[in-house]
């Protein structure tokens, strides 16, 4: 192969195949450039950076939607449209992969960004001077998250995680005037640097032993090693554990969760919302991606069916390892998150532990999905659907919770739970909204959180019935159930303070009406929580489409 053909080939690949499937990320990148350019041109300097960012994100949302709509099997696929996208498409010479999971999560992230930018415009934390920095960082991290979702190569895994993390460090330190914000940023950066190092060492071990960084090739190599008697499997286990450290850091899974409460407490509530929703969604998707890329052979053409089945069997040990790793971490994460949330006095810290606990529930479903791959593909697909459905509802629940915290902070100048005492007398609307969000986070019907949690538990029961890891799945089910009950206490304590406790005499600020601009934001986030609890079939249809990504 000479240089000419190489260049032409990669040019063709890039321009004809890869870039059209990369349009949402390109939109975000262009927006970043525009945001920076606006600052140079004096005339444009007075332009509101939030508007620019919102415009760019809307384009990204549109393209993400088009990609999702045109997926094979999509409900919205018009019959006349020329079907150009196959169900699984490796782009950029195999560094990234485009499939239904990528499309779903990218749509989710873009949709989240639209809501998020609207919310930050109302809550006013990035002021006019900081706006450009803030949105640049947010969009940059969002690109990293999109890459996390579509990573198909260890290099991309590392790059995407770093690309999502490094702007997040800066975001955590956004409140330059406050010491706690600086402290949050330092802690986040130190933890991040450490876990990135450990993960990278794991990557070097995996890549070195397997001789490749490309996920499907790694799966094939793993299967070959398993067939050959498991030579070097100790190194692989070590490497896998070290990579898991990096993922656990992003997921804020125990025991790599220590940064999470401190960062959430120190940083602005707006930043907390971004980290707890977008970062979490991307991390869960990355976990799914890694687990399924390494545990399941990629879909081949018809002639490969037999070989593929053999590889699937040969990878059983790998999956077993991953199920136990993810499952045990999920159980511990969930339990610790819920128990630690109980004594919190700061609302953001409480929500941080709640985020940790929810990561636990999500990981339970991931473990169930991996456990069922070999024996019940339909069950595994349902479990993945449960995970991504959960993420879909989580956007509204948690963004709603943080929006309430941020907007109440603007009124009350405090984020302590005790400062919410007696809010029901002055602002009943916001109390009802908080109740909806928190009850949904607990997972009670008829709200969106219930459906999500129900689907997660459904996948666990399914796994108990069919999978080889029955004891673990049983433990996860019981742990999940007990944790749901434990979570009642701290969520409802907030409501109790809001309704029963007498309001402090020195309450500053006026009442918070839902008929106002901030109120409208809260309403816009809370109404979907109720609506999705009652009419969830279309979101679940999308989730099912995404759930089919691995098969």
């Amino acid at each position: 192969m000479n240089l000419g053909t190489l260049i032409t080939g990669s040019l063709n690949d890039t321009l004809a195949v890869s870039l059209p499937l990369f349009r949402p990320e390109l939109c975000l990148a262009t927006t970043i450039v525009l945001l920076l350019l606006c600052r140079i041109v004096p005339l444009l300097r007075r332009l509101d950076s939030g508007i620019v960012a919102l415009g760019g994100v809307c384009f990204a949302l549109w393209f993400a939607w088009i990609d999702f709509r045109d997926l094979p099997g999509s409900l919205w696929l018009s019959s006349s449209a020329v079907q150009t996208i196959s169900s699984r498409q490796e782009i950029f010479t195999g560094l990234l992969v485009f499939d239904s999971l990528t499309a779903y999560l990218r749509l989710l992230l873009a949709g989240f960004l639209v809501l998020y930018i609207l919310f930050t415009k109302v809550s006013g934390i990035p002021d006019h001077e900081d706006g450009a920095d803030f949105y640049t960082l947010v969009l940059g991290a969002a690109i990293g998250m999109c890459l996390m979702v579509s990573a198909n190569h260890l290099l991309m895994l590392f790059m995407a995680v770093e690309m999502a993390s490094v702007p997040s460090y800066a975001l955590a330190g956004l409140l330059k005037g406050r010491k706690t914000s600086s402290e949050a940023a330092i802690k986040y950066a130190v933890y991040g640097a450490g876990s990135a190092g450990v993960m990278l060492y794991g990557i070097s071990l995996l890549a070195g032993v397997l001789g490749t960084c490309h996920f499907p090739s790694m799966a094939a190599e793993l299967a070959r090693i398993a067939g050959a008697g498991g030579d070097g499997s100790m190194v692989l286990v070590l490497g896998g554990l070290m990579v898991a450290v990096g993922l656990a850091f992003k997921l804020s899974a125990v025991p790599f969760h220590f940064w999470c409460p401190d960062v959430f407490e120190g940083a602005a509530a707006e930043v907390g919302a971004f980290l707890s929703v977008a970062s979490k969604a991307a991390a869960v998707a990355l976990l799914l991606r890694v687990a399924f890329s390494l545990g399941v052979p990629p879909e081949g053409d018809g002639s490969m069916q037999v070989a593929q089945a053999q590889v699937l069997v040969a990878l059983a040990d790998t999956r077993h390892f991953m199920v136990y790793l993810i499952g045990l971490m999920a159980a511990v994460t969930c339990t610790l998150g819920n128990l630690a949330a109980y004594g919190q006095t700061n609302m953001k810290r409480l929500l941080a532990y709640s985020t940790i606990a929810h990561a636990g529930y999500l990981m339970m479903a991931v473990a169930a999905a991996v456990a069922m791959v070999g024996v019940a593909p339909a069950g595994a697909r349902a479990a993945i659907s449960a995970v991504v459905f959960y993420l879909g509802t989580y956007v509204f629940m948690n963004l709603g919770a943080f929006a309430i915290v941020a907007l109440l902070r603007n009124k009350l100048r405090s984020e302590e739970i005790s400062s919410y005492a007696g809010l029901v007398h002055s602002s009943p609307g916001i109390v009802v909204a908080t109740a909806v969000v928190l009850v949904s986070l607990i997972g009670l019907p008829p709200l969106a959180g219930f459906v999500a949690k129900f689907l997660v538990f459904a996948s666990l029961v399914e796994a108990i019935a069919v999978s080889a890891e029955r004891p673990l799945m049983l433990v996860l089910l019981v742990v999940g159930g007990i944790n749901t009950v434990v979570s009642l206490f701290y969520y409802l304590r907030v409501l109790k303070v809001m309704t029963f406790d007498p309001p402090p005499l020195d309450r500053v600020g006026e009442s918070f009406s839902l008929v106002s601009l901030p109120g409208a934001v809260v309403t816009a986030l809370v109404v979907p929580v109720v609506v999705l609890g009652l009419f969830w079939s279309s979101l679940y249809a999308c989730a099912q489409l995404a759930g089919a990504f691995a098969f």
Binding site: A458, T484, D501
Partner: protein, 575 residues
Amino acid sequence: MNSLTPSTHLLLVLATPLIGAVVAWVLGARGRHAVRQSAVVTAGLTLVSTGWLIVRYLQSPEAAAGEPYAVTTLPWLVSGIFDVRFSIGLDGLSLWLFGLSALLSLTAVLVSWEAIKERPIGFYVLLLVLEAAMLGVFVARDVILFYVFFEFTLVPLFFLIGIWGHDDRRRAAVKFFLYTLAGSVLAFLGLLVIVLWHASHVGNVTFDIDTLTAGMAAHPLPMNAEGGWLQLIVFWALFAGFAIKVPIVPFHTWLPLAHVEAPTGGSVDLAGVLLKIGIYGFLRFSLPMLPDASAVAAPWLFGLGVVGILYGALVALVQSDLKRLIAYSSVSHMGYCVLGIFALERVSLEGANLQLINHGLSSAGLFALVGMIYERFHTRSIVNLGGIATKAPWLTVLFMVFTFSSIGLPGLNGFVGEFMILAGSFQRAWTGVAPAFQSPFLVMSVSAVLGVVLGAWYMLWAVERVFFGTSRQPPHGPPVEACDLRWYETLSLLPLVVFVFWIGIAPATFLHPAAAAVRNASSAAAEAFADRMQAAQATIQTIAPTVNRVVVHPHASTPINVFPQPLPSQSSANP
């Protein structure tokens, strides 16, 4: 005979309190009188309508065939394989509890006639919402719907206690709410596991209670080490929810607090109806869906029932607060219900089902009367009260009626229920268990009888101190207005008195419609228990034949079969 179909009728009964709540809200601008009048009219209409529906049910062919009546099934959250329906209907198990809810709601509204002066709109609206939720719990035929109604009974009562309660109301409301909610979430998770297990066998996720019951019979949850004892885990999850609601003794601590702090109307609904949901849950879900686990747990819960009876009675004996005394008597009486259910004998199950109604009537009446005494004397302390009989003879008479009903005087309703429960538990102890287990069962049954004695003791003692003796002026408060029952108070209690006598004199009227349903609900569990006893006996005989020496009771070989009913285990007890 008329154009009102049963289904529409039932929907109307459910909708009436809600419509009434809206009307009361709208009328709120016109003041307290308008609100309470509209609430009484609503509760009265609901009661009449419910009574009529019950009469129609009793005459219907479905009642004779043991099928659900007045069924409405509307798709609610149907998507893909998920099938959640708004499905309601009446059957033998829910019939009387449904009627009791309507009856006691009227009582609750009437006893609040003068007591509630602050924020009356909210109070009556919540009371009517609570009535709708209570009615809904008993007619729900879908797990999700049941759970939603169940939670909706908590929320109004939470606010009723938390806003209109006495001094320590906040703590009481929060404790009540958290205990019950925590339990109910566990129970709900257990039910979801049942739903999902069913789904994994038939392919579609149905929440219909009847379908699930049938499904659990066809493919029960695993009850062995290989299946992870899933059935037992689910049973204990359900148990957590229902036991807190009943409450069974170690989980009862929320109850006295909630009762003491609640306004009278709230206490009436809480004691009269809400506690029954726990037992109803055992009969509706645990026994028919998890028969094997129920059989395993039955001896323990039999014992817990007895512990509850004795503990409640002993603690009631030393109370100085009249309302708290009655709250602990509720713990004791619900212990009888638990005992009756988990004796797993037909007669005791029917008795327990009847005892639910009996306790609903008597405890609601007693709580209402305590509320009236409090209104007059501004104290509930037994030592500060006394000689009420001379000032308020009719109040005293009614209190005596409910007291006698509560302690089981023959001729009143309490006697029938308690007698059937005790008879059933003795039957179980004599003839229904392996000889090796006979003595513990007998000890427990005899202890339960002791509870009756204790019950008479603490109730009559309290009556003596409160109503008779010298008239003691309360040390504080405004001068006592020594007047007897007012018209609305008489009206609120009279229907209860009628039923107290009716059930006492003609219990068959009430036992008969529920008998088949109770039998169906418990037959699987009773059989499983008999099988276990057989197996246990066989094991004991093979492993250590000498263990038979522990059978001290001479009647083991010659059972006194008071109740001529064939017992599945008789053959094993009588080799």
